[in-house]
Amino acid sequence: MGKILAVGAKEMRQILRDRRTLLILLFIPAFFLLLYGYALSFDIRNVRLAVQDRDRSTASRELVSSFVNSGYFALVGYEDSDAALARLVDEGKVRAILSIPAGLERDLALKRPVTVQVVIDGDNANTAATVSGYARLLIAEFGAVQMKTLLLAAGSPPVVIAEPRIWYNPQLRSALFLVPGLIAYISMITAVVSTALSVVREKERGTMEQVRMAPVGPVSYILGKTLPYLAISFTSAVLIVLAAMLLFDLPMRGSWLLLLFSIGLFLVGAQAQGLLISTIADTQQVAFQIALLSSMLPTMILSGFIFPISSMPAVVQAITHIVPARYFLVALRAIVLKGADITAFWQDLVALAIFATVAMGLASLRLRKEWA
């Protein structure tokens, strides 16, 4: 234990000498959350909509108002000619067109199927997919309401109506989804990056020989290297969580103790990953490269931060199991958003612990081999 502390103290002195790095590690994460928390949003509101109403009936007006009242669409105006509509889209004045066929109301009354057309500017595929999801939902809801009134009026055929209720995030604010992701992302990068150069730097400068001669085993050396950075990353992670609660109304529905424990476990794993990289690489350049490639994009794309894991192909879903942020995100969202207890995510905590142990173990083994 004394040896671990000695290595830790030496590392701490080195960190304190480089003020820029220390300040970046401590405060930049919270600052970034501030910037990105405001900047990033999936909430697409007020999509500019043009309406081609060929029916001009009560039913068609109801459909249009259901679009406008949803808040997803903002009505730019009515337009009849196809050419004029196409021009509006080309010029970027509208991003969606709702085209209601003549005879909508009549067909509904006659119980004939009707098709309502929606045209969406697919310039940005992500936005277009979301907008088409909104449109589909609104039209399906409109259809269900129409069917209910008609059928009830007609007498006795059965109707099944879906009544949705949204849990945890009833206003469907994407910030509540993205902010925990950002917390995980920023902490992951900070933690991996902080330790990735720590061992290889000594190799490159030649001070490793001295450490090797000192009566310190690989395991205590590795642990000593992590401790100071763990303290820094932990402080900065807690700062981000607090900032998220103050600024973005991130709720806290679960236990603080569990939250802090999960953060700690996640950070140890992330730093172990950094250390492992540091023991594998021979130059800082390579360590830097591996650290970034293994943390920056995978944490963003494979963790469930932005893209839902259940929609990925099976092989890729299997690969996401080696991304620690995946487990942390489940735990984080379960604690803060759902107020779930440990039974909901204990497997994820176990996975994080396994990840940390394996990475630490591999790093020590690697070092032992090198020192032998």
């Binding site: 595929a125 909104y134 589909r136 006795s156 949204i166 989804f177 970034l292």
Partner: protein
Amino acid sequence: MGVEPGATGFRAAVRRVLHLMRKEVLELKQDPRLFSVVIIAPIMQLTVLGYAATTDVKDVPIAIVDADRSTASRDLVQRFASSANFKIVGLPGSTSDIDRYLDHGEAWMAISIPAGFGQAVGNGRSVTLQIAADGTDSNSTTVAMGYAQSLVAGYSQDLAAAARPGQPPVALVTPEIRVWFNARLESRDFMIPGIVALLLLVVTTNLSAMAIVREKEVGTLEQLSVTPLARWELITGKMLPYAVIGIIDVVLVLVVAINWFEVPMRGSIPLLFGMCLIYLMSTLGLGLFVSTISRTQQQAMMTSIFFFLMPMIYLSGFVFPIENMPSWIQPLTYLIPLRYFLVIVRGIFLKGIGLEVLWPQAVALFAWGAVVLTLATLRSSKRLG
């Protein structure tokens, strides 16, 4: 070295640059892992990330509580089971078990079919199905709700038709959604050019970010400063070896994007390649600039990640549309070269447009690269002088 001290003239300069390049390549060879990392890793990443980065919502995990267990309710369950949009992960016995599925995140949606459902449907009474959805992932939930509403509406219609054979079918409003400019609406086609741009940024910026600061840390920059090497020669000689690696990466990732993922390539490949070169100039220049303003390699790494790479990734419009950002953040995005390059790659790939439309972005990208390289050159002089 065959160059006399202080020798002037273009040829002498070229020779000095070549010498520096040779030294740089020798240094890169010190750690042979570097090559495998910068060549193989981007391809592997593109292959995996290309599949993962999709905003399409499918296989929505759902739990269904069938409190009725009638033919009608089993029919409804069967419809969810056979739909490609849903995947049934559990059939809990009672409504109170729903909490567990949603809390644990095992299901995104839970549907409860009430007792007496089959009877009500048989007698022609209306029934309400409760659907509880996990709103955490607001976007995917909206899409999934649309799927569920459509499915239930279709079921409802079939029921009515079956109840009154011979009668006209019950009206059903179906949405027909057409997407212009990207008819396949494959979010993959949209994301992969973005991932290509990101990978190039991450790999090349990091390579060059260490280039000069390493010499500072080891102390050999002093030696370089007493050679007759001019500032621009130092920057050029440092940059070119990395540019070669960058070009290899460009070719490889483009081959994977076009041949493996079959992203439609509607525009000109030579134009795309040329634009990639301009982009490389700005990413490598950025790395060199970071290198000149840092004292240690660790500082260079922190500076490039936190002050350049992360803002670029998030504020470039890669995933999050710039139009959605608050108006005070939008002007910041003009400072980001990735923003311009994304418009260029997506435009060439998906729309097949050329320089006649993309020239403002191309000029902005080139200007960015020129400015950052000049800054790096000027900065390096202070340190050398």
